[in-house]
Structure formats: C-alpha cells, structure tokens
C-alpha cells in the first residue's frame, strides 16, 4: 500500500469512527442505570448541530480562547499518524516518535488550560489547575510503559513497539510485565480522557469537575471541535491499549487485524462504560495516589524485565 492511500485510510478510520466511542460509553451507562439512553450515534448529531450555531464569546477572552479548541482536534489527529491501527501501519514512523506522541498531548494541555484561564472564571481556573497538576503524574507513568515496550521491541518507534508480530512473541514470554503495563496504560487513558475514577464527564457541579469545567465557556463550532477532539483523543489513546492487548493468536491478514482493532476499540468503550457504571469517582486528594501507584506498577514491571 502506498503512503498516500495509507494516510487517507488511516485518517478516515479515525475521523469517521471515533465519535462512536462516547456513544457506546453513554449507552452502556444507560443500560446499567436501567434507562434507554441516547442513540449510539448521538455525538454525530451533536457535532452537526454545533457546527451550525453561532458562538457566544466573553469579552474577557482573547485569541488564546480559540487555540485550545483548534489544538483539541489537531493534536490527536497528528498524534494518530504515529500509531498503527491494527494492520494499518503508522503513516509517520521514526525512532523516537513515541516521545513526540506523548509531548504533543502536553502541547494540547498547555493550550486547553490556558484557554480556560482566558475566560477569567475562577471555576475554570480551578479545573485548569487540576488538569495540569494531575497530568504531571500521568506522564512519567506513560514514559515508563514506553521504556518497557521499547526494551521488549528493541525500537523506540510506536509502530515497532506495538507491531502485532512483535507482541505475539512478547506476550507469552513477558505476559506478566505486559499486563502491568496494560493496567498502567488503562489508568492513564481513563485519567487523560477525564473518565471515572479520576474525573466525571457527566457531573453538573463545577467544583468537582476537572476537564469539563475548563470548556464551560466554549460554544458553537468551538465546542464542537472540543467534543470531536475528545472523541479523537479517546480513540488515539485507547488505541494504545487496544493495540497492546490484541491477542497473540492474531491472523496475519491485514484486513482481519484492522477489523479486530476496531472491534477492540468498541470493546474498550464498553469496558470504560462498565467501569464508569460500577465505580465511584475518587475524592480529588486521592487521585495522585492512583496515578503514582499506576506509574509504580510500570516501574516495577520495567525492573522485572531489566534484571
């Protein structure tokens, strides 16, 4: 497959399917709550509606206010280019792209938090402070996982680290360590995507929110970009988990692997829905313990394969 068609296929997969995930999560939660719930495609309708709305903009804000929403889509899209989707190889791959992948989300965080502070609202300031504080602890955890995968794969490119052929060898030999890495990654994915047990995307009390409170003032197309961006982010970060846990008894067929990857993404959304339904949000002071603890698990795993 040449680069151009790969690029198009890869991006289309992401751009078209990502909004499914929040829908599945919401549906799962509705099922557990004994409700019928919104249709799975709700986010597509929402996005279409938000696109055609006029924005309400506070006079306090400046151009920074719009950089946050723009990056919310641009960053996951750029980062996704370094991630293999099942059998579809990453269109951009080079040694060290894993670090770029992680740091791109740092850029997003910088401007999302800045856009929140741009409104001058104390609540949004609170959310921004929490977001940047908790992410500091998630980043070392991700890096430990990357080091671990890099050591196993002998390469520092996400494509090599997450290649199904490579993982098929690694799982039987280092299953426990990879399991630890998987748990860490899952916790990070939940934290970075503002999910229970770290954050509650559905709460309506500004004081307890982290991510949602930062986007309170956005409206219209800008809010649409943010909603779409968070779906993309869930797909991209969740992609790490899915790609890592693809079973070793994988077919070598390209199309089948990719289909399996998509199914894995949907399953992950289901899993997140279940976690959200059965768990309560942690009290904020306990969140650092969760993130540090998950990082320590990865550190422990890394030591195990180093010895």
């Amino acid at each position: 497959m040449n680069l151009l068609s790969l690029l198009i296929l890869h991006s289309l997969l992401l751009l078209l399917l990502a909004p499914l995930l929040p829908g599945i999560i919401a549906k799962t939660k509705a099922f557990f709550g004994g409700r019928k719930g919104a249709p799975v495609l709700q986010l597509y309708f929402d996005l279409n509606r938000l696109r055609r709305k006029g924005m309400v903009v506070s006079p306090t804000t400046s151009w920074i206010f719009f950089v946050g929403p723009l990056l919310a889509v641009a960053v996951p899209l750029t980062a996704s280019l370094m991630l293999p989707f099942g059998g579809l190889a990453a269109p951009v791959r080079f040694g060290g792209d894993a670090i770029l992948f992680v740091y791109l989300f740092g850029l997003l965080r910088f401007f999302t938090a800045s856009a929140a502070l741009d409104t001058g609202s104390a609540f949004e300031g609170m959310g921004a402070a929490r977001e940047v504080s908790f992410s500091c602890l998630a980043e070392p955890a991700v890096l430990l996982v990357l080091l671990l995968l890099g050591r196993l794969a002998g390469s520092f490119s996400l494509q090599q680290m997450l290649a199904p052929q490579q993982l098929a060898v690694a799982w039987p030999a280092q299953g426990v360590t990879l399991g630890l890495a998987l748990v860490t990654l899952l916790v990070v994915v939940l934290a970075e995507n503002a999910r229970i047990p770290v954050d509650d995307p559905n709460t309506h009390l500004e004081l307890t929110m982290i991510h949602e409170v930062m986007v309170l003032d956005h409206s219209g197309p800008a809010l649409g970009l943010i909603e779409y961006g968070s779906a993309l982010k869930l797909w991209v970060l969740g992609g790490l988990v899915v790609q890592l846990s693809l079973p070793p008894l994988l077919p070598t067929d390209l199309a089948a692997t990719t289909l399996l990857f998509i199914a894995g993404q949907l399953l992950l959304a289901l899993l997140i829905g279940i976690i959200e339904s059965v768990m309560a949000r942690l009290p904020l002071p306990r969140v650092p313990a969760l993130l540090i603890g998950s990082g320590l698990l990865a550190a422990f795993g890394l030591i195990l394969i180093l010895r």
Binding site: G54, T60, A113, A122, L143
Partner: protein
C-alpha cells in the same frame, strides 16, 4: 585569521562599555556606541564561529605572555562553538534590549556602570570559553564573576539587591576556590597548566575522581546545580531583566562548559561520574521546577527554571559520561548532543522569558504575578513572545526545547536496551524528565494564565503598554531563532556533530548518533501539525463569519457580580502541586479554615523560601556569627594585662610547637 576574528569579537564586547564612561551622565551617545561595538563584536564572533566550523581541526592561537606558568593560548573547537554561539547572539540581543529597557536618560546614576560591566561580562565569557590555559582561564573566570557581581548590584541603593549580590559573591568565590585546587591537581597530573587534548588522561587514576568532584563543585556552583544554586533566585531576581537574561541564559552555562571540558580530558571515567551527574541533574530538575511553581515573584520563578534546565543538561551529560564509561558511543553521542543543544536552546528561550518579564515589569511596575492579569489585551505582542518562550521552555513541540529533550530521551532509550543492568537502570531517570516536563507545563500555564489572561487584577495592570521598538525587535529575533530551531532542527546538526567529534569520541559516533536521531522527521511532524492547525483555523473562521457571533459575559455558574479579584490566583493554582511536593519545599501556608455556616472573613496565602539558602545556610551562618561574637566578647576584655597574657601564651605556644616539630625531625 579565524582565531583573530574570534579574539577581536571578544575584545570588542569587552570594551564596549568603555566609551560611555568617558561621556557625561546625561548623554545618550554612550549607549549607542556600546550597542554598535557589541554588534561589531557579534558579527566578528559569528564569522569566526563559521570559520571554525569550516576548518577540519580545532584552531589554536599562542601569543607571547610573560606570566609564570601561563601562556596566552586560546583554542576554539566544536564544544567551544556551542557556547560561543549564545554568548555572541544573546549579548547582542541584550544590548539592543537594554537600549529601550535601561535608557541612560532614565537611569543616569547606574546606566554607565551597567553598560561597562555588561561588556566586561560578555567579553570575559567569550574568553572563558576560548581559554586553553588554566591561568588565563582563572583570570577571565574571575573577571566574569566580578562583572556579574556589579551587574547584579546595579541598583545598589536597595537593600535586597545588595544582599543578593553578597550571596552571589560568596557562592562564586567558594566555587573559584574549588576550581583553583582542581587546576593545581590537574597541573600536577599533566605537568603543565595548558589544557590537554580530550581523552588524553586516564580516568581511573586516583586523582581523577577528586579532580572531577572538585570541578563539579566549582563549576556546579556557577551553573546552579541544586544544593549549590543558592545565589540564583536572588541574583536573577534583583538584576535588571536583560542582565538576568544574560546571567541566566548564558553565564551559568560557562559552568556547564567547565564540566564538559574537564570531563572530556578523561578517557574511560568510572561509572559513578555519570551516575552522580544524573542524580544531581534529576534533583535540580525536579526540585527546581517544584520551587518555581511555588514562587509568586515573576523573576524568582524564572530563576528557579534555570535550575531546572541546568538539571536537564546535567541529565544529558550524565548519560554521555555513562556512555563513555561503558564504551557506548551512541549513548555518549545522544546524551552529549541533547545536553549541548539544550545549552543553546535554554539560552534562547530563557533570555526571551526574562526580556518579556522585563517588558511586563516595565509596564506594570511590579514583579508580583498576582498583581497582573489581562495583559494580553494591552500588550498583545509581548504576550505572543511570552507564549512562544513558554511553549519552548516546557519542551513542547514544535519549538526548540522539545528537540534537545527528545535527544536525551533517545539516549535513555539506548540505555534501557543495554543488556548490563548497570547501564539499563539509568533509564529509570527518564520518567523524572517526563515529570519535569509536566511540572514545567503546569508552571507556565500558571504564569501565562495569571499574567496575561483573564481580567486585570490591579489598576497598574489595566494600563499596561507595549514595549518600545528596540525591546520587541530583540525579543522577536530570539523567538525567530526558537521557531527555526524547533521547525528545522537539522540546521544545527553540523555544529553538534563537530562538538561530539571534538569531545574526543570516535570518528563514527557523530554519524551514528544522527542516524538514530533523525531530526528531519521532527520537521515533518511539526509541519503536519501546523498544516492541520491552519486548515482548522480557516474552517473555524469561516464558521464564525457564517453564523453570527454574540458577546456575553463569562459564565459565572449563576453568580452575576464576579469581580477581577475573584479570579483564580497563582497561590491557588499552584496549591495542589505545592502540597504534593511539600516534603521538599516546606511551604509556609497561612490559611484560615472556613468554619461555620456563616463564615467570617478568611484568607489564604502561601510562601516558599529556599530550603538551602533560607533554611540552612543563612541560619547556620547566623549561628556561626553569633558564636564568633560570643568568643570575641570573651577574648576582648579591655584589660591590658589580659592582652599581655595572650602574647605570652602565643609565644609559649609557638616555642612549644617548634620544639615539638624539632623533636620530630
């Protein structure tokens, strides 16, 4: 020829402030001449740098000099180039900035002194990097230290400034003392006070460890590694902004230069050298940024970020030394390339941050972050410059700070793949680098958000104004460099290759390093990001024009009468992280608990003094001074008989000593 150019450049910088001294206080001619001389020096210097880069071997210059033990020998190799580049560029930008920031007409009392010492500092830094003889090195090193002292105490009519200057003076001389011993020992090993070729001394020799340790102590106190950083916050906080910029961006790097140079002399150093640097670098990095988060004074905050970035450089150097100990050329190359590139990068974005801080302080008249707010509207250009510098210092793509950290990460990755656990365990420091990055983002969101965004918190912030042309011209120049180095980082590849080669590594190391670290890919990724961003921006703009946009007040969660003072403050923003790091910061929090259903007035504030300086060194020296005063009171009784007794005792003691020593012979 090239060496002469470099030397001319350094000397032009050195004397740039002299003509101003001869002119009257009120005359503005001196500052123009100084700028002209600095510009000429920079042009000479940069041409020289290009010349050295073109020559295949390091250049040497020997001049006759009647100094015992010293010869006036200068040399310029790849390592020196890395440091010369920021010295010349930032000196020029600082001089240009100073034209608007510290106008002779407004600062008649100290303007001439400032310019004179600025030139001395810039020129002596260039000479420090060029010196190839220990005596010459120490002389220009001291000249640099003294110039730095007078620059920090520019406003010597203020008490805190004098205090900060004194701390700097004490710290730098303790460092020099260690360096003197180090050079004597080094001279004993080599038999000459001239610098030797890289990798020509045996790292396992018994003295080598001591020499390295002393170098780390002496140069580390200049660079600002964590327990030795005590002069930085006060020093950088008290100096005028463009002076803080050159001190923090460039001068502290001469400490790094010293460590690189001395460590480079040795072949196969013991592994603990690298490990020590890794540990010190990590401590400096993490605690530096943690302290920065806890600060509310803009310039002190930036000063602590220097400690952080020096820590990152230390981590890179540590990796390079571990690579050299275990003969891993890739690890050496990546660690060194990352550290040296970060030297250049940090000099750029840190200077820019201090310049923008200067512009903000110039406009508002305060250094307290909590008194700013909403400056993006009155100072839009400065805000753009600040955002650029902030993104760069946080190590975020697509600006230059990311590139150097990326190289260091690649080094860590080489380490983790190694089969020996001694090397592989060093990769456990990589998460610390990630933590530093995350904390830096938190810190700069706080600074940027509280300073530039939201509504003005005070009257002064409401009436902010844009900086004069000379200031923002020099700032824009630096931001341009930051963007260039971030978007097309491969332009510095020849420079880094040369530095790696001249550090005494094997021939293939540099080529292998950049076969692993393929910088052009970073350009591709950055351009993809920018392209997507541009497309989305176009779409959003189109939508905004299609559907009418309304103005409406910020959503106050139902509350209608929000005032500026209800915005989130720097203390509150930092509180989560400060409490998380309270084991190392020992913050002083003054908070009243809100009690009862109808609570009365309450307030919260937090303040974090420096653990080393304010909690250890100063109390300790106070106690020592008290003890000495007590001793003096005991000795000085004012009775002549007692003084005679002292003399008698002293004579008796000397006699006893001489007889004892005589007996020993």
């Amino acid at each position: 020829m090239t060496m002469n150019l470099l030397l001319t450049g350094a000397l032009l910088l050195l004397v740039s402030g002299v003509p101003g001294l001869l002119l009257s206080r009120a005359s503005g001619l001196g500052e123009r001449i100084a700028l002209l001389l600095v510009a000429a020096g920079t042009v000479c210097g940069l041409t020289g740098v290009a010349g050295v880069l073109r020559s295949p071997v390091p250049l040497l210059l020997h001049l006759p000099w009647s100094m015992p033990g010293g010869s006036l020998s200068l040399s310029a190799d790849g390592v020196a180039l890395i440091f010369l580049l920021p010295i010349f560029i930032i000196s020029f930008c600082g001089a240009l900035y100073g034209l608007g920031y510290w106008k002779q007409a407004e600062h008649q009392r100290n303007g001439r002194k400032l310019r004179f010492c600025y030139g001395l500092l810039a020129g002596s830094m260039a000479l420090v990097v060029l010196a190839a003889n220990a005596v010459l090195f120490i002389i220009v090193w001291e000249l640099m230290a003294l110039a730095g002292y007078f620059l920090i105490t520019t406003e010597d009519d203020k008490e805190p400034v004098r205090k900060a200057g004194y701390v700097y003076f004490a710290a730098t001389h303790l460092g020099t003392a260690a360096l003197l011993v180090m050079f004597v020992l080094l001279g004993q090993t080599t038999g000459s006070l001239d610098f030797v070729k890289p990798q020509s001394l045996d790292g396992t020799a018994p003295l080598a460890g001591l020499i390295f340790f002393l170098a780390l102590l002496g140069f580390g106190s200049k660079a600002g590694f964590m327990p030795l950083h005590l002069w930085l916050p006060g020093g950088h906080g008290s100096a005028p902004s463009h002076v803080s910029a050159i001190l923090s961006g460039v001068m502290i790097k001469t400490g790094i230069y010293g460590i690189v140079r001395v460590a480079g002399f040795y072949t196969a150093p013991p592994a603990w050298w690298g490990w020590l640097l890794l540990v010190i670098g990590t401590i400096s990095g993490v605690m530096g940024v943690a302290y920065a988060i806890a600060q509310h004074d803009l310039k002190r905050l930036l000063a602590y970020h220097s400690v952080e970035n020096i820590g990152i450089i230390g981590i890179g150097l540590g990796l390079a030394l571990i690579g050299r100990s275990y003969h891993l050329p890739l690890l050496t190359g990546l660690g060194l390339a990352g550290a040296l590139l970060h030297v250049i990068n940090h000099s750029l974005f840190k200077s820019l941050l201090f310049y923008t801080a200067g512009a903000v302080i110039h406009a508002t008249g305060t250094q307290e972050i909590d008194r700013y707010g909403g400056l993006i509207k009155s100072m839009p250009k400065t805000a753009v410059l600040f955002v650029g510098a902030a993104v760069a210092i946080c190590g975020l793509p697509p600006l230059n700070g990311f590139v150097s950290e990326w190289l260091i990460y690649l080094g860590f990755f080489q380490a983790v793949q190694h089969s020996s656990i001694g090397v592989a365990l060093s990769a456990m420091f990589a998460p610390a680098l990630a933590l530093i990055g995350g904390l830096a983002v938190a810190c700069f969101v706080k600074v940027f958000g509280i300073t530039f965004l939201g509504n003005p918190r005070t009257e002064a912030a409401r009436h902010g104004h844009e900086a004069p042309a000379s200031m923002w011209l020099s700032m824009s120049l630096i931001l341009l460099f930051c963007c260039l180095l971030g978007l097309i980082p491969w332009v510095v590849q020849p420079l880094l290759r040369r530095a790696i080669l001249d550090w005494g590594t094997e021939l293939h190391t540099a080529a292998a390093t950049f076969a692993v670290a393929r910088l052009p890919w970073l350009s591709i990724a950055a351009s993809v990001l920018l392209l997507v961003l541009l497309l989305l921006f176009g779409w959003l703009n189109w939508q905004r024009h299609r559907y009418p946009q309304q103005r409406g007040a910020t959503w106050g969660c139902g509350y209608q009468f929000a005032t500026e003072r209800m915005q989130y403050t720097a203390s509150s923003f930092a509180d989560t992280l400060v409490s998380l790091f309270s084991w190392g910061l020992w913050p002083q929090k003054h908070d009243c608990k809100v009690l009862g259903t109808m609570p009365t007035e309450s307030h919260f504030s937090s303040h974090t003094p420096d653990l080393v300086l304010d909690r250890m060194v100063l109390p300790l020296s106070t106690h020592i001074a008290q003890a000495c005063r007590w001793l003096r009171r005991q000795l000085q009784q004012g009775i002549i008989g007692i003084y005679l007794l002292y003399m008698g005792l002293a004579v008796a003691g000397l006699l006893a000593l001489s007889s004892l020593l005589g007996g020993a012979q």
